[in-house]
C-alpha cells in the first residue's frame, strides 16, 4: 500500500490547544497552547518528563479531561474535518471508540479484574455497534484474533489475572481497536514489559497500522520506542511542544537544548558512553510558570533574552520547528553546541 500523502490525508489537526485545571489554590496550565497535525497511517511520538502535560493532551483529544476542575479553555481539535470541541456530549460518545480511542498507561489496571475478557470486549463493541449478542460474540473473537491471541474462543471466559502481562496488553489493544478507529492514542503502553514481549506488541501495532491506515499517537518516556515506532516526534516541556519534526531530524539534529539534553541522557545500546548527560533541577510548576523560556533555569545556553519573553518558533527544516532564542540569527548568547548523534551499524 503506497499512499501518496498530501495535506488532504490529515486526520487530526490540533490548533493552539489549552487545557487548564482550576484548583482552589491555583490554575494548572497542563496544556498551554500546543499545535500539531496527524496524517492517516502516521505515527506521532509525544515525549517529555513526567507532569509535562502528555496525558492531559491525550484526555483533551478524547474530551475526557477530569471534571469539573479540568477544562479545555481554548483551541481547536479537528478530527476527520470536524472540530470536536463544538460537539455535544452525546455526539462525543459516537466519536470515542469509533473515530479516536486510547490504550491506557497501565494495561494491568485498565482491565477490570472482576469481569471476563469476553465481557469487557463485548461491552467495548456493544457501545459503538448496538448489535445482538451472537454477532457481538463473533466480533469479540475476531478482535482477539487480530491481536494474535491464540485460541481466542477459549480466552473469552478468562479473567485478567489468568493472563500474562503481554497477553493483557494485547487484550487492551484489542478493546481499543475493536471499533476500528482512525486514531489511537497509546499512553505508555509498553512499560514494565520484557523487551521481547514489548517488541512483539510494537510489531503487531505496526502490522495493524499497515493494514488499516490507522494513525497512532505514542505517548512515552522511552526514546527507544520513538526511534522504533514513530514517523514524527513532538517534545513537550511544561505544557508546550518545544520542538517537533521528522523522527530522523529529531534524533540526528535536535535543535532545542532540552531535546539535546534528553537524548544525551539516555544510555545507548549500540555504543559505550563514558558519562551520561544529566539535566539538573526540575521542570517549573505548571501553576507558576516563569515569564520567558520555561527551560531557562536548567538550560546551559541561557542568556538574559531568555528570561524576557517566550521564544519564537523557528523553522529548521520542512516540518521541523523549535522554540528557542538561540536559533535566532541575532542571538547574543552561547551558541548551541553541535550535537553528536549515536553511531553504530544497523543489522
Amino acid at each position: 500500500m503506497t499512499a501518496v500523502q498530501t495535506a488532504t490525508d490529515t486526520i487530526l489537526e490540533v490548533n493552539d490547544l489549552k487545557t487548564y485545571i482550576f484548583t482552589r489554590a491555583a490554575t494548572v496550565k497542563a496544556v498551554d497552547g500546543i499545535s500539531f497535525n496527524l496524517r492517516k497511517g502516521e505515527t506521532l511520538g509525544i515525549v517529555g518528563e513526567s507532569g509535562c502535560g502528555k496525558t492531559m493532551t491525550a484526555l483533551s483529544l478524547l474530551r475526557l479531561v477530569p471534571k469539573p476542575a479540568g477544562r479545555i479553555v481554548e483551541g481547536e481539535i479537528v478530527l476527520n474535518g470536524e472540530d470536536i470541541l463544538q460537539k455535544s456530549e452525546d455526539e462525543m460518545r459516537d466519536v470515542r471508540g469509533r473515530q479516536i480511542s486510547m490504550i491506557l498507561q497501565d494495561p494491568q489496571t485498565s482491565l477490570n479484574p472482576v469481569f471476563t475478557i469476553g465481557n469487557q470486549l463485548r461491552e467495548a463493541l456493544g457501545i459503538a455497534h448496538r448489535e445482538n449478542k451472537s454477532s457481538m460474540l463473533s466480533r469479540a473473537v475476531d478482535a482477539l484474533r487480530k491481536v494474535n491471541v491464540a485460541a481466542p474462543e477459549r480466552r473469552l471466559d478468562d479473567y485478567p489475572h489468568q493472563m500474562s502481562g503481554g497477553m493483557k496488553q494485547r487484550v487492551v489493544g484489542a478493546i481499543a481497536m475493536s471499533c476500528e478507529p482512525g486514531v489511537i492514542i497509546a499512553d505508555e503502553p509498553t512499560t514494565a514489559l520484557d523487551v521481547t514481549i514489548q517488541l512483539q506488541y510494537l510489531r503487531l501495532l505496526k502490522e495493524i497500522q499497515a493494514e488499516t491506515g490507522l494513525a497512532i499517537i505514542f505517548i512515552t518516556h522511552d526514546f527507544g520506542v520513538v526511534a522504533r515506532m514513530c514517523d514524527r516526534v513532538a517534545v513537550m516541556y511544561a505544557g508546550r511542544i518545544i520542538e517537533q519534526g521528522d523522527v530522523r531530524d529529531i534524533f540526528s539534529r535536535p535543535a532545542h537544548p532540552y531535546t539535546q539534553a534528553l537524548i544525551n541522557s539516555v544510555p545507548k545500546l549500540e555504543q559505550s558512553v563514558d558519562r551520561l548527560y544529566s539535566i539538573d533541577g526540575q521542570p517549573p510548576l505548571l501553576s507558576n510558570l516563569p515569564e520567558g523560556c520555561r527551560f531557562a533555569p536548567r538550560c546551559p545556553y541561557v542568556s538574559d533574552q531568555c528570561y524576557e519573553a517566550y521564544p519564537q518558533s523557528y523553522t529548521l527544516n520542512e516540518g521541523h520547528y523549535a522554540d528557542c532564542w538561540a536559533l535566532d540569527a541575532d542571538w547574543q548568547g552561547t551558541p548551541i553546541e553541535e550535537f553528536v548523534p549515536p553511531t553504530g551499524t544497523a543489522g
Partner: protein, 327 residues
C-alpha cells in the same frame, strides 16, 4: 569446608540452585514437582565492579538476588563472600553479612515506609545491627544524604515530600549507610523519569568509584546494563547461557538467546533498528523445562541434538562462556 577461591572476587557463586516445591491439596499438601527457579549458576563479582544480570521475566533474576541477600536458602550450591560460605553464617556473623550486602529495589514509591522519617529509613541498617549512639547515627545519616545529593536537613522529612528520583536517592542512601561491600540493584531506574535516570545511574557509578562497592545489577534495559556493568550474565530458565565482559558481550554476542534479546532491544536511533531474530511466544514454565537445551523450542538455530542433549558450557575466549551446541 575447604574452598579454593578466585582471588580478586568479592563474592563467588558456585553451582547455585533454588527449587521451589509445587504442591497440590490444601490439608495434605503433596509435592507434585519443583519450580527450578535457579538451576546451577556460577559467577563472581569483583570488588568495585558491577555484574549485570539480564533475561526475560521468570528466568530467575530476583530469586538469585534473594539468595545473595539470604532471604532464601539455596537448594544446592555455595555463595562465598571473600572465600567464606555465607550459608554457614549464624548470629553475629549473619548480622554482619546483612550489613555488608544491601539492596535497592525498583519502586521508589512502595519501597520506603510512608510513616517513617528519612532519618529512620536511612539509618535502619545501622541500628538493627550495631549499638550506635544517636549522635553517631545522625552524623552518618547526614553524611550519606550528602553523598547521594540530598541535604542533611531533609533527614526529618517524610518520603511523600520527595520526588521519585529523590526517593530512589533515599533508598541508595539507606543501602550505603552501613558501609556495604555489595549492593543488589533490582531495576533501580526503570520506575524513574528519563531525565532522572541519568542522575541516579551517574550517582551509582560515582559512589562505586569512590567507595569501591560492588553491584549486582538486574535490569530489563540492555542499554542501562551496558552503561553500568563490567561483566554481564544472560539468564534463561534458571541457567546462565552466556557470560562475558560487557563490552565483549555487546560486540560479540554468541548465544542465540543473547542475540535474540539484543535484537529485541529498542534502538537509540531510527537508523539502527536490527531485529534479525524475533522471538515468538513467552518463556516456558520452569516447572517442566524443555529437554536438552532449554531454549530449543524458541531457537531459530535448533538442531536435532538440541532437544536431546543439554549443551555444556564452553569458554570460547578468556572470560567469555557460552552454553550452546553451535560452539
Amino acid at each position: 569446608m575447604a574452598v579454593a577461591t578466585n582471588n580478586d572476587a568479592l563474592l563467588e557463586v558456585r553451582n547455585l540452585k533454588k527449587y521451589f516445591p509445587v504442591t497440590k491439596g490444601l490439608i495434605l499438601m503433596k509435592t507434585i514437582g519443583y519450580v527450578q527457579a535457579v538451576d546451577g549458576i556460577s559467577f563472581s563479582i569483583k570488588q568495585g565492579e558491577t555484574v549485570g544480570l539480564v533475561g526475560e521475566s521468570g528466568c530467575g533474576k530476583t530469586t538469585t538476588s534473594k539468595l545473595l541477600l539470604r532471604l532464601e536458602n539455596p537448594t544446592e550450591g555455595d555463595i562465598l563472600l571473600e572465600g567464606r560460605d555465607i550459608n554457614t553464617f549464624r548470629g553475629a556473623e549473619l548480622q554482619d553479612y546483612r550489613t555488608t550486602v544491601q539492596a535497592v529495589f525498583q519502586d521508589p514509591w512502595s519501597s520506603l515506609s510512608p510513616r517513617m522519617r528519612v532519618r529512620d529509613i536511612v539509618s535502619e541498617p545501622l541500628v538493627v545491627n550495631r549499638n550506635v549512639t544517636t549522635q553517631e547515627k545522625n552524623e552518618r545519616v547526614a553524611e550519606v544524604l550528602q553523598q547521594v545529593g540530598l541535604h542533611a536537613q531533609q533527614a526529618t522529612n517524610y518520603p511523600h515530600e520527595f520526588s521519585g528520583g529523590q526517593r530512589q536517592r533515599i533508598a541508595v542512601a539507606s543501602a550505603l549507610v552501613s558501609y556495604p561491600k555489595l549492593i543488589v540493584l533490582d531495576e533501580p531506574v526503570s520506575a524513574l523519569d528519563v531525565s532522572i535516570r541519568a542522575q541516579v545511574m551517574n550517582l551509582l557509578k560515582d559512589l562505586q568509584e569512590q567507595y569501591n562497592v560492588s553491584y549486582l545489577l538486574i535490569a530489563h534495559n540492555l542499554a542501562t546494563v551496558r552503561y553500568m556493568a563490567h561483566e554481564t550474565a544472560v539468564m534463561y530458565l534458571g541457567q546462565i547461557v552466556e557470560y562475558a565482559e560487557t563490552e565483549e558481550l555487546y560486540n560479540n554476542a554468541l548465544h542465540p538467546y543473547t542475540r535474540a534479546l539484543f535484537s529485541a532491544a529498542l534502538p537509540s536511533h531510527p537508523d539502527l533498528i536490527r531485529e534479525d531474530i524475533v522471538l515468538q511466544g513467552e518463556v516456558p514454565s520452569p516447572i517442566n523445562p524443555p529437554s536438552g537445551c532449554r531454549f530449543h523450542p524458541r531457537c531459530p538455530f535448533a538442531m536435532p541434538q538440541c532437544s536431546e542433549e543439554a549443551p555444556v558450557e564452553k569458554e570460547v575466549s578468556p572470560g567469555h562462556r557460552v552454553s550452546c551446541h553451535l560452539y
